[in-house]
């Protein structure tokens, strides 16, 4: 028996602990790179001096511009990666991600309304709270329309409708906006970016991201049981209704808090779990933490990428993630059609 045990497929792969450590090491390297890259052209010595002498010019650049940008790309990336893995676990489907619920679009609508009303500066939590409310409403609406335990196709159709409605409503907000500055602010923000973010944005989002992370990680065991379907999971002692609620609320808080500070960034939630499955296997619980780390890695790398791509104005990160994510999504649709027609067999 022990001979058979030694041949476990994932023992030939990286163990979850080894993968986690490798990803953390890669993140540390990218984090350093992220602090070093930027139009100001600071040298490594300048950046180090920036930490020791906070009032110097490098100190201000590092503290006010590069550090918030790094912290946000790490936390938002991790959140999106985790949300994708959690939804895929809950729905037992590798094509699930927050966008199929229309959540980012609805979060963007909530945030755009706050920007339109000029409330973002008056009350700093208005933006994340409105975005979370938008995300929560869209997911609740999709679940309500599609019905409990609905097939993925029903969910996608309902999510498409809700997302389209939220997009149209956002256009209406832009349309009615009397102030061209507000229009520019909303439009640029919708494209997704970590440019010009401050530690205020970090404080605005990170507490919510931490709460959402705790909720979704707590649900991991339930996702593992759901491998055998809702009924069997129920007889294994999992409260499936509570698991569903925990996931929906967790994803709403996480997506809302992320979209509020970064704008709409797509496909990280879809891509991250797919990148880690070949390394740790398909156990939906074991995928969670590596997906979060991979999400952080992808978004931090993309944020370095947009600073390096030569352009007259900085390429928006949402544009870059979509350009990388859409081909992958199409490839997944083409290779995993079974999940659309009959659900997992």
């Amino acid at each position: 028996m022990s001979g058979a045990r030694a041949k476990r497929p994932w023992s030939r792969r990286l163990s979850p602990a080894a993968l986690t450590m490798t990803l953390c090491a890669a993140l540390a390297l990218l984090a350093i790179a992220s602090l070093l890259v930027g139009p100001a052209g600071l040298s490594t010595a300048d950046v180090l001096r920036g930490f020791t002498a906070p009032e110097s010019v490098p100190g201000i650049i590092v503290r006010e511009i590069r550090l918030p940008r790094l912290l946000l790309s790490l936390s938002v990336g991790a959140m999106l990666g985790l949300c994708g893995a959690a939804l895929q676990g809950l729905l037992r489907n590798p094509l699930a991600e927050p966008a199929i619920f229309g959540a980012p679009q609805a979060a963007a609508l909530g945030a755009a309304m706050v920007l339109y009303a000029g409330l973002a500066d008056a009350f700093s939590f208005a933006l994340p709270l409105a975005a979370m409310a938008g995300a929560g409403l869209s997911i609740a609406l999709v679940v309500l329309v599609a019905g409990r335990g609905a097939h993925l196709v029903t969910m996608i159709l309902a999510g498409l409708a809700v997302g389209t409605l939220a997009g149209a409503a956002t256009s209406l907000v832009i349309n009615l906006s009397p102030n061209p500055f507000a229009v520019t602010e909303i439009v640029f923000w919708l494209m997704g970016s970590f440019e010009d973010r401050s530690l205020r944005h970090v404080l605005m989002s990170v507490p919510f991201i931490a709460i959402a992370t705790a909720m979704l990680l707590a649900a991991g065991r339930g996702y593992r049981a759901l491998t055998l379907g809702e009924d069997v999971a129920g007889t294994l002692g999992v409260n499936v209704d509570r698991l569903r609620l925990l996931t929906i609320v967790g994803v709403s808080i996480g997506v809302g808090a992320s979209v509020a500070v970064s704008g709409a960034i797509g496909f990280v939630g879809l891509v991250a779990p797919h990148l880690v499955r070949p390394l740790v296997g398909s156990d939906p619980q074991r995928v969670l933490i590596p997906s979060a780390l991979t999400g952080a890695l992808l978004l931090t790398a993309a944020d370095i990428g947009v600073r390096l791509i030569p352009a007259t104005s900085e390429i928006r990160i949402g544009v870059l993630t979509a350009a990388m994510g859409v081909p992958l999504f199409l490839w997944l649709v083409a290779t995993q059609r079974a999940y659309f027609v009959g659900g997992p067999q």
Partner: protein, 256 residues
């Protein structure tokens, strides 16, 4: 003195929407007993199992060792009952061993968990494919994986909905032998079967369902003698004792 009650359902009703799909079902299930559940399609067999497993709302009383079964903690219930779903699915390409290990989710002792999983893998002939992704295997192999998942549990009650449905003849017999052995070891095994020969040959007791009601609850011999099966299924039944055991032949009645 009557035996202490184990799992008892009394006056169980299940309503799905407007339709009463299970009506006034009372049955007591005992340890060390292999009970087969038979009946035509749509008779309420699956609903009966789902009601016992707490997967569908029911009215009437369900008690387990004298306590209210529905009021028990979900994990405590999961430790007492393992349920095999009819045509169960496996969503992710996990190795067979990890799927079987899901049966140990409500428990927690690692050494015991490992032993139980290996025993279940061996019993269901899965030891040689224990590291293959479960989703890449045949329907029959997947059915055995899901059965092994239920067997790996320490639960005293096994509720199995069509455990032999997609198995070849040898594995059908093997699985019935496994279930018999499990019941002899003290478990209460309840299995929905469509194969009347297997249902009659292996059972200690047979429950016959029709139109949502429990029509008969009897030992196989008495069940065959009273002729109700023929009426319920609308077929002619012929029971022959062979060297291999009891064989039930069913034929359609001659049309007028």
């Amino acid at each position: 003195m009557s035996a202490p009650s184990f799992l008892t359902a009394s006056r169980l009703d299940v309503r799905l929407g407007e339709r009463l799909v299970l009506e006034d079902v009372s049955a007591s299930l005992n340890p060390a007993e292999l009970i087969t559940v038979i009946g035509p399609n749509g008779a309420g067999k699956t609903t009966f199992l789902r009601a016992l497993a707490g997967l569908v709302a029911s009215t009437g009383a369900i008690t387990f060792e004298g306590a209210d079964w529905r009021a028990m903690d979900a994990v405590a219930r999961a430790c007492s009952l393992a349920y095999l779903e009819q045509r169960g699915t496996i969503a992710w390409p996990l190795p067979v061993r990890e799927i079987v290990a899901l049966g140990r989710l409500p428990f927690g002792a690692r050494k015991r968990d490992r032993d139980a999983v290996e025993r279940a893998l061996d019993a269901c002939g899965l030891a040689t494919i224990a590291d293959r992704p479960a989703t890449e295997l045949s329907g029959g192999e997947r059915a055995r994986i899901l059965l092994a998942r239920a067997l790996a549990s320490d639960a005293k009650i096994l509720l199995l909905d069509e455990p032999v449905a997609s198995l070849d003849p040898a594995w059908q017999l093997n699985v019935m032998e496994i279930l018999k052995a499990e019941s002899k070891a003290g478990r209460c095994v309840v299995a929905v079967l469509h194969d009347l020969s297997l249902a009659m040959r292996y059972a200690d007791r047979v429950l016959l369902f029709a139109s949502g009601a429990l029509l008969a609850d009897a030992a196989p011999k008495d069940m065959l003698a009273d002729g109700r099966i023929e009426g319920v299924f609308g077929v002619r039944i012929e029971a022959v004792q062979t060297n291999g055991g009891l064989v039930i032949g069913a034929s359609l009645p001659p049309t007028a």
